[in-house]
Symmetry: C2
Subunit: 261 residues, 2 copies
């Protein structure tokens, strides 16, 4: 039952700092210093109670603190574990370049397989609907849109879900309205429709997930999401697609290249 000595220190009873914060500090430091490795099990609540001589609620308070920081996650009946850092997927700013599209495969699939992961696309849903105010504004006062909703998984883990919106009069009746848009994806189809793509605008924000997002992406406590809204413009400056994406922040790093002039 007793804790291996040296793993965790003692409390400072003279400190102003709340006891549960001191305990969280101790555990955090032990993780930082590698005394608890990624994926390792923390001492059980009972062991921590004994070690620090406090009540169980205080220990739980400490752990819930660390959970909120995304450092640990608890599993009912098993224990509390140092949260492993999943491999991140790097999204380069040229990922929608035409030269990649011409290969004919979806960007997500190609990239994932190159990284040795098993990609999946999920819950595909294609609908015709009224544009929300925001989408309408981004598409240039379009009323009705075709929406394409899907979820992406890597090795069975959901990492991202996205909804594309296209003006209905552009997409209706084309392969874009089919579940499978064909080789090169909807951007290839848009170009075949004579909409030569010129550039994309991306807006990036980070925030904590909603309840629904937590569920859809199976997020652990303390994992934010990246919310990315991309608008595609054709060579005449018309917006042809808006893609609204929510990503598990611990699975991604976004890379952009900016010109200096």
């Amino acid at each position: 039952m007793a804790l291996p000595s040296g793993l965790l220190g003692a409390l400072d009873p003279t400190s102003d700092r709340a006891v549960f914060r001191q305990i969280a500090d101790q555990i955090r430091e032990a993780i930082d210093k590698g005394r608890f490795k990624e994926g390792a099990k923390l001492p059980s609540e009972a062991e921590l109670v004994e070690h620090f001589g406090v009540s169980r609620m205080t220990v739980r308070n400490s752990i819930s603190q660390l959970q909120g920081e995304g450092l640990v996650s608890s599993e009912h009946g098993k224990g509390v574990f140092v949260r492993p850092r999943p491999p991140v997927r790097r999204l380069a700013s040229d990922r929608f370049a035409r030269r990649h599209r011409e290969q004919g495969k979806a960007a997500f699939t190609v990239e994932a397989e190159a990284a040795g992961s098993r990609p999946e696309v999920d819950s595909l849903e294609v609908k015709e609907e009224r544009a929300s105010q925001d989408i309408s504004a981004r598409l240039g006062s379009v009323r009705k849109v075709l929406s394409r909703r899907r979820r992406y998984l890597l090795d069975g883990r959901p990492v991202e879900f996205a909804t594309s919106y296209l003006p209905l009069d552009l997409a209706r009746g084309t392969q874009i309205a089919e579940p499978n848009p064909g080789p090169g994806g909807i951007y290839a189809r848009l170009e075949e429709l004579g909409r030569h793509l010129d550039h994309f605008d991306e807006e990036v924000q980070a925030r904590m997930p909603s309840q629904e997002e937590t569920k859809t992406l199976r997020l652990a406590a303390g994992v934010p999401v990246i919310h990315l809204v991309r608008t595609a413009y054709d060579s005449e400056g018309r917006a042809v697609e808006v893609c609204d994406t929510v990503m598990a922040a611990d699975a991604y790093v976004l890379a952009y290249q900016l010109p200096a002039n």
Copy 2:
């Protein structure tokens, strides 16, 4: 003491869902539906205890749930409030374009004043130090660097802090090593030194803040940070600066433009 009726519903005792989650759901829904507006005070813990007929710890558990989601923040002695959404600063991908630099003022200052905010720069610290492994790799195997550390505030609120690293043999003895690098900032000085800037690489990640970041940025619970690492390259492809930035995620939206070819 009693709660205005209609604000919050009742619990479902037959539900599997934990009581504290049901209470959090009720409050979340009330916020979503606008029954509690931004900045409004939630019912006190005592009122919620009475309304739902549960113990105080259960109510506190609900509230701490909502805090973790970034929905509310509590103020000791005052109450729990719906977290107001602060105005966000939009960072455009051309913010380092030469044409802006030539105005002579710092980008942060110009932008903030244009938006009607009061900008401040803080805790400026210039040091010579050994490069960390990561910084060294990004700068191309540079051992010693000049580091410039500073914090940015808008209307007194810290929103971002950043550290720039430059190869020491490039920056030493120049105005870059001075606290005030002069008009146009260090990028202008680099160009005067013959390092014509070609492009920047930016890497964006989001995560929960460390203890220190929470303190430096005075972050509320449930606010993630955006971690941005920018590398500046000159026209000969040499990395001349790495800037490591941590931003309060609720204060920013990043905007990028990507070419389609």
